[in-house]
Symmetry: D2
Subunit: 149 residues, 4 copies
């Protein structure tokens, strides 16, 4: 059965714009934090482990799409639910739903690449990492082991 | 002939992550600033004019997609070039290319809705605003005056 | 006995600069969040309650000073411990120590004013608010009920 | 005669809080940018030159104090005027005034240390750097060449 990773964040004053709603660049910080915590806590392969500071590996974004459904407001507890819709040889596509009390705030698709830092070439996921990530896949089809990036 | 709106931003320390590259949520602040300056400077219909602070109109995002091509680095002067690919009755789709010395950093499609603040209903663009925005359309086809949102 | 309010924050990637340490403007977001949560959770007088969005009251900063002791790093759990060193008629001085495993990151003194939003005049704390805040005072001397701001 | 370094920034939507004023952590990003541009443009000793990314030198903050005078609002052009009030062997104290049309927003004193990155020991300013910085000193007294940090 597909696992799901959840991060919950309280909307604070610093996230809100003069219209009193969450300023959307702040959502991207929360999306980044969701991926960061997923890799560290669920996959045991944190950015520090990858050596993102020391010329090792990182997970730059290839593409991100967000479809907004309802505005978010100060004081709300937002749930960020992450699953995978695709697991490539050296990439992964996340589906992240942000909701509050089951009302959707937005849906996000984000493609990350496992690659050398500094714009370097992509590198296959380590086997153990790949195995742990597969538990979060929502599709039944086998992941394509031969796909590049 | 299609007009194009350009905002240029220097990448500063505060935009960069521990991997030494632009942290992508900062790009969304720059995208927001590009749309903000376009509406204020090119269209003469700023968020203040709309009354975004005082229960008037705003331009919430409906959808945004960014496709990253190359990482951005400290000290670069980034050009954000904005045109419109669609102008609906109460919406607009922007195409924003971010580049540095003509090398693409990312391409962005962003749909904004002209709507009452606080998650309110959409409202048609004022005629004068609409006319000025049309100059930035890249498509030759007539804009659909009857499309909702 | 003096009470102390604690907020704990994990240092995330989005808080860190290209030197791999916490970028200090992010600390000020955490300081703001500490004061925000203190007022809401410990004092039961949140910014929403004050009407910060609707032309009511707010708590603008009058002065802030931070003395840095040690750099903060990615992955650290930072404790923000807040007490009061002074409680004026319509102001308060917070002492906030940020530490990780009891090693100090910085010490902060921050003066807030209870005032009408938009740069308006100061207004005395409501009695019930004042009474709850007094429990966090570290000084034994009586607070000066007559001091302005 | 004392020189002064000026950075001007337009207040954008992303700098403002739900009360419609500049959210003060954003001011610290602007203060950081003022120091960044001063070192790079006026002193010709940028953070990149120091090797802040590559295990070289940096200029961590030792202490910062800000006294707020008036709130800042969306659309304002803020001038950040920087001079030095002290130039130590391996430190410097900046006085930064933020104003809009000569009305003060805040006054800031910031002490930076010239030190190895990662919390390392302080290192004297290079002579050429020191000479260029001295032109921005507002005090007539000789700087103390022997003072540590």
């Amino acid at each position: 059965m597909t696992q799901r990773f959840r991060l919950t964040r309280r909307v604070e004053f610093n996230h809100c714009d003069p219209a009193g709603m969450v300023f959307y660049p702040r959502y991207f910080e929360m999306i980044s934090a969701t991926i960061e915590r997923f890799l560290a806590d669920a996959i045991d392969y944190s950015w520090q482990d990858m050596g993102v500071f020391s010329g090792g590996m990182g997970t730059p974004l290839g593409r991100i799409e967000v479809r907004f459904a309802n505005p978010g407001y100060l004081g709300e507890d937002l749930d960020f639910d992450l699953t995978l819709t695709r697991l490539g040889r050296s990439s992964a596509v996340f589906a992240i739903r942000c909701s509050c009390s089951n009302q959707t705030r937005f849906d996000c698709d984000a493609t990350i690449i496992h690659a050398r830092t500094g714009g370097g070439s992509s590198v296959p996921w380590p086997d153990a990492v790949r195995a742990r990530m597969a538990a979060y896949l929502t599709t039944s089809e086998p992941t394509d082991e031969k796909t590049t990036a």
